[in-house]
Every structure is written in structure tokens, then in C-alpha cells.
């Protein structure tokens, strides 16, 4: 299993995702410049930064949806620029993506949406796919009758959950979540965080999560990376964030809202 399961090639202590010297710009404006980032296997990495600092751009660049001007992206130890099509497909099977607005296919039901990756990439019987899709639905906390609905009939929170179910369809090694809890009520957001943590513990999932939710950062993230000035300012656990000396980081983690979140945690 070399190209079929690229995630399997990686030694346990190697980073699952290695980004080196990434530069991305649009027109004459540079968004990211010389950015380095490692994501360890099995961790939940929270990614924060002010609006417009390029968090989503970085995620899209890693996924190959944005062109970059320089730098390398290595996923499961494979340089994305140097791999053949088969390995690329293998990698695409081994990552799941939750887009900010869900990006569910609007002409398919939720169950059909979840089955799209299975149908395209795996040879499974229809009965098994149906069962699997129903399990994913239950895992992400959607009621069974949501499966037959179309995305336009779902609420914002249900769309996030259904989209997560699709991202998890192939039991990926790493999932990219773009603001998974935005638009959810605090209880729903808390459940979502618990769900992510549970999936990590049971499936050994690695999670790359762009988020603004201080509660998520505090409760589930193992490490936090802060994006600013076109690169990663600081990366580390919450304790590092609280002592790091940078105006934005200070304001974010030690501002009034942050104190509220920390107080609730104590």
C-alpha cells in the first residue's frame, strides 16, 4: 500500500502536514509570505487570526485550490508538487474538508452527499454505503429524517453537521475545518467540539481547524497557531498564547471576551 494509502507511508513521529516557505499573493498584494507550519499526527490544531489575514487562503492553498508563488506543501510526507496523479488521488481520499458555508451539493439529498466520496473512490455495496451514511449522520448528531432532505431544507447548523459527515465519509486521516462552529449556538458549538474531540480519540483523526471560537480553542485544541503579518506569529498551547507579547495576540487572548471564556472554563 504505497500509493493507495499515502497516509500509511508516514512514520509515527513525522508531521502529517508540513508547509514550508509558502508565499501567496493576489495582484500586487501579498497575503502570506514565507509561512512555515507543521501539523502533528493526531493533534487538533486551532488556527486563528484577524479577519482578512489569510486563514482561509492558507487552507485553500494547502488543498491546492489557490495558486501559490512559492514554497512547498507536504501532506503525509508527499510533496504535492512532486507526486503522480495516483498518489494525488490517494491523498484526496485521505483528507476531508468542511467548507465555511458547507458546500453541500444542492441537487443531492444529505445521504447522497455523504455517499459521493464513497461512490467515487471505493467499491462498496449500496447496502453498506447506506448503512455507513446513516452512521455518519448519527455520529455528527443529525436526526435520521435529515438524511432524505435537500441542503436547501436544512438550517445553518444542520448544514455544518451534514458537511462534516461528508468530510468524514472516507474516514480521512486529516480533516480541514473552516470555521466549523460559526453560526452555531453555544450549545451546538460545544457539542460540535466534543464531537471533534471524540472523533480524534476514536479514529486517530488529525484536525486542522480555522476558528474564531475561543471556547473551541480552549476546550479541544491541543495547539493554537496565530496568523498575522503574513506568517505564523506563534504556535503552541493556550498557555503560550497567554504569555506571548504581540498586540493582536494580547488583545485576542486577554481581551474582555477572552477573559469571559476563560472564566467560564474555571
Amino acid at each position: 500500500m504505497t500509493t493507495d494509502d499515502p497516509a500509511g507511508d508516514l512514520a509515527a513521529d513525522e508531521p502529517i502536514l508540513r508547509v514550508r516557505d509558502i508565499t501567496v499573493g493576489f495582484g500586487d498584494k501579498l497575503i502570506l509570505e514565507g509561512l512555515d507550519l507543521d501539523v502533528k499526527r493526531g493533534e487538533i490544531l486551532g488556527f486563528v487570526g484577524g479577519s482578512g489575514t489569510g486563514k482561509s487562503v492558507l487552507m485553500r492553498t494547502i488543498l491546492g485550490l489557490n495558486p501559490r508563488r512559492g514554497g512547498t506543501v507536504e501532506v503525509f510526507g508527499h510533496d504535492l508538487d512532486a507526486i503522480d496523479a495516483a498518489t494525488r488521488t490517494g491523498i484526496e481520499r485521505s483528507w476531508g474538508v468542511l467548507f465555511q458555508h458547507g458546500a453541500l451539493f444542492s441537487s443531492l439529498t444529505v445521504l447522497q452527499n455523504i455517499q459521493v466520496p464513497m461512490r467515487e473512490h471505493m467499491k462498496l455495496s449500496q447496502g453498506l454505503m447506506d448503512d455507513l451514511a446513516r452512521i455518519k449522520l448519527a455520529l455528527v448528531g443529525l436526526p435520521p429524517d435529515a438524511g432524505a432532505k435537500f441542503p436547501s431544507e436544512l438550517s445553518g447548523g444542520m448544514i455544518k453537521r451534514a458537511s462534516l459527515a461528508r468530510a468524514l465519509a472516507l474516514d480521512p486521516a486529516i480533516v480541514f475545518l473552516d470555521e466549523p462552529t460559526s453560526g452555531l449556538d453555544p450549545i451546538g458549538a460545544g457539542e460540535f467540539d466534543d464531537l471533534i474531540a471524540k472523533l480524534r480519540d476514536t479514529l486517530g483523526l488529525t484536525v486542522f481547524m480555522v476558528t474564531h471560537d475561543l471556547d473551541s480553542l480552549r476546550s479541544v485544541c491541543d495547539r493554537i497557531a496565530v496568523l498575522g503579518d503574513r506568517k505564523v506569529l506563534v504556535i503552541g498551547p493556550m498557555s503560550t498564547m497567554l504569555t506571548f507579547d504581540h498586540p493582536w495576540v494580547k488583545a485576542y487572548f486577554r481581551g474582555a471576551r477572552a477573559r469571559g471564556a476563560t472564566a467560564r472554563g474555571n
Binding site: 441537487s107 455507513l132 455518519k136 455520529l139 435520521p144 441542503p151 474516514d171 476514536t202
Partner: protein, 391 residues
């Protein structure tokens, strides 16, 4: 039926199993990776195992131990299949050996998820289904008629307002739409009409020559294009060009709640979106028809000169004798009505788009097909009307 020591050999990551009955119980040894990558093959293995476990010799056993010691990775797909397997044996007779803690948690999760009830859509008899579909179609037809009437009423209301308070007219959106539907459409309409005029003249010249009535080709081209062809083909072109874009624009605005946003800001979507488009189209189509008239007669004149041997001077003299102002007016008078039909169909279809991308595509198709059909119906009605009043 007795159990031999059945072993299936697999490579390390391939899933495998063996079944060893011992005194008073049996041990089912599982191995390999139980993941979605092996799930296709696993499903068959699990079916074999279930058959073995459901055989009378196995159900008689007091206890069955599932040995997970050699199992590699388990993901949700593998856990689902393991759950299918263990569900065949009553829980009090099951023993689980060598199950790591995370895997146990995963299996429990899956067990809980599997027990969620399956919701099947209610089954209907074909007759009920047909009647339901028919009823839905009737209701949607009524709703659509109501929408068209509402749009028409909205347009009338805005026009009345425009006459009473000219300052409230949305002039800039109207000019913008006029540029898109008229100015931008002019080149293709001119080219198309030139070709149509040329083709009719060429065909006509070919047949009339047999009777030595070459010159009558001018009469035919003049009357045919001015009365019928120019306006009809221009309307079809506009239906395909502007009608489809109206539907797609309004439809995607509807999908992204932009229409609702207009409403809550206190703007009337009909006034802001539909009226400028509709009025612009009703102004544009007569202008385009006039251009089409000119282009097709020019095309005919060129063909007559080059192919039919009729000098342009003769062509123009003959044309002046064959057609009168009324011929031109009869044709162009249809244009605003056709434009209104195209605009109404396009906008009403756009405003009926539902949430999915598929619905947007379907509505755009329906919009073009329906407006071209309606244009031809309107043309027919005018033909009857003109015959009745004798023009």
C-alpha cells in the same frame, strides 16, 4: 456439521478470521485492518462469518469469544461491519478479547449510531403518486399564473407612478438593461438578419427565375421580412439571449436571499428588478426589429445584385412599389408584445427558482423554451387579428 479449524490466509493488512470451537465455547480470531479500504472485501468475509455463527452448531455454543488481538486499524466502516458481526450473537454469550480502549469506544459509538431508527419515505401507490403529481402541477400552474399577473400589475403600477411622479423613475437601471438587451444584442441580430435576408432572396430568386418572374423576389423578401421573419427571429434571439440571462440572474439572487433582502429593506423586488428589465426589453425589441428589417433587406439586395442579376437601383424601385409603411408597422407592432411575453416568462421563472443549482438550470431551460413557444403563439394571434381587420 462440524467445524474444522478453518483459516483464511491474508497479507498483514488484509482482514482475516478463523473459527475454533473449543469445549463449551468457540473463539473467533479476527485479524488485519478493518477500514473503508478493505470494506468491500470485508463485507463478504463478514457474510461468511455470519453464516458460520448462525449455523445450528454455533448457536448451540454457550459462549463465543471474539479475539481482536491481531486486528490492526479500525475505522467507522470496519466498526460497522464488526457490529453487524457481533449483532448475530446475543450479548450475554459474547466475550471480547484484546480490544483496545479507543476501539471499544468506537464500537460503542457505532452500536449507538446503528440503533438510530431508519426513516424510510412513505410508500405511495402509483395512482396516488400520479394524482399527487397532477395536483402539484395544477397548484404550481395556478401560482405561476398569479405571479405573472402580479408582475404585470406591478409593471402597470410603476408606469402609473412614473407618469404621476417622473422623478421616481429608476432611470439608470433601465438604461443599463437597455444597453445589455439592445446595444449588446445589435451585432448578432444584424448579422443573423443579414444572412436570413440573403438566404430568402437566394431561394426566391432560384424559384422565380423558372417562371421568368425574377423581380417578384423583391416583393417576397420585402413583405416576408417586414411582416414576419425579422420580428419573429429577433424575438427568438432575444428570448434565448436576454430571457435566459434574466432568469439566471433573478434565480441566483433568489437562491442567495438577495430578493428577500430587497424586500426587508423596503424595496419592491418587482419594481427594482423586474420593471427595468421588462421595460428595457419592450423598448429594445422594436429597435432590434427595425435593425433586423434593414439588415435583411440589405442582405437580400446584395444577393439580388450578385446572384440574381437585379441591380440595386431596380431592387429599391421594386421594393418601394411592393411595400408600404403599413407593411413595416404591421411587423414592428408585434415587437413590444413579444418582448413583454419574453420578459414576463423570464422574470417569473427566475423568481420561482428554489434552493438547488439544478432548479436554477431547469427554470432557465423552461424560461427559454416557454418564451420562444409563446412568441410563436403571439405571432399566430396577430396573424388572425390582422386577417380579421384586413391589413
Amino acid at each position: 456439521m462440524g467445524f474444522g479449524s478453518r483459516r483464511v490466509r491474508w497479507s498483514p493488512t488484509e482482514p482475516g478470521w478463523s473459527f475454533d470451537p473449543t469445549e463449551g465455547g468457540a473463539r473467533l480470531v479476527l485479524g488485519g485492518d478493518w477500514t473503508i479500504r478493505t470494506a468491500g472485501r470485508l463485507e463478504q468475509r463478514v457474510a461468511e462469518m455470519v453464516t458460520t455463527l448462525e449455523a445450528p452448531a454455533a448457536t448451540a455454543l454457550a459462549r463465543i469469544d471474539f479475539d481482536f488481538t491481531d486486528v490492526g486499524q479500525i475505522d467507522t466502516a470496519g466498526a460497522l461491519l464488526l457490529d453487524r458481526l457481533t449483532a448475530t450473537v446475543p450479548e450475554e454469550r459474547i466475550g471480547r478479547i484484546g480490544l483496545a480502549e479507543p476501539q471499544r469506544v468506537l464500537l460503542d459509538e457505532i452500536r449507538a449510531a446503528v440503533q438510530a431508527p431508519e426513516v424510510l419515505p412513505p410508500k405511495l401507490s402509483p395512482i396516488v403518486g400520479f394524482l399527487t403529481a397532477l395536483g402539484r402541477y395544477g397548484v404550481s400552474l395556478a401560482a405561476e399564473s398569479a405571479l405573472v399577473v402580479q408582475l404585470l400589475g406591478g409593471v402597470a403600477l410603476v408606469l402609473v407612478t412614473a407618469i404621476r411622479h417622473p422623478s421616481r423613475v429608476r432611470f439608470i437601471p433601465f438604461i443599463h438593461q437597455l444597453e445589455r438587451t439592445c446595444v449588446n444584442a445589435a451585432p448578432i441580430v444584424l448579422l443573423m438578419s443579414f444572412l436570413i435576408g440573403a438566404i430568402i432572396a437566394q431561394q426566391g430568386a432560384f424559384y422565380f427565375r423558372r417562371f421568368g418572374a425574377d423581380l417578384y423576389v423583391v416583393d417576397m423578401v420585402g413583405v416576408l421580412t417586414l411582416r414576419e421573419i425579422a420580428v419573429l427571429l429577433t424575438a427568438v434571439m432575444v428570448a434565448g439571449r436576454s430571457g435566459s440571462s434574466f432568469t439566471a440572474e433573478l434565480g441566483s439572487m433568489k437562491m442567495r436571499e438577495e430578493v428577500d433582502a430587497l424586500q426587508v429593506i423596503g424595496l419592491d423586488p418587482v419594481e427594482v428588478l423586474v420593471v427595468p428589465r421588462l421595460i428595457a426589453l419592450m423598448v429594445a425589441l422594436p429597435i432590434l426589429t427595425f435593425l433586423a428589417d434593414l439588415a435583411s433587406i440589405f442582405g437580400a439586395a446584395v444577393v439580388c445584385q450578385v446572384y440574381g442579376g437585379i441591380p440595386t437601383e431596380t431592387f429599391l424601385q421594386r421594393l418601394a412599389a411592393a411595400v408600404e409603411l403599413r407593411t413595416f408597422l404591421v411587423g414592428i407592432a408585434k415587437a413590444p408584445f413579444m418582448a413583454m411575453i419574453i420578459g414576463l416568462v423570464a422574470c417569473s421563472e427566475g423568481l420561482q427558482v428554489a434552493g438547488s443549482a439544478e432548479s436554477l438550470g431547469a427554470r432557465t431551460t423552461v424560461s427559454v423554451v416557454k418564451s420562444i413557444f409563446m412568441v410563436i403563439v403571439v405571432d399566430g394571434i396577430f396573424a388572425i387579428f390582422y386577417a380579421a381587420v384586413g391589413v
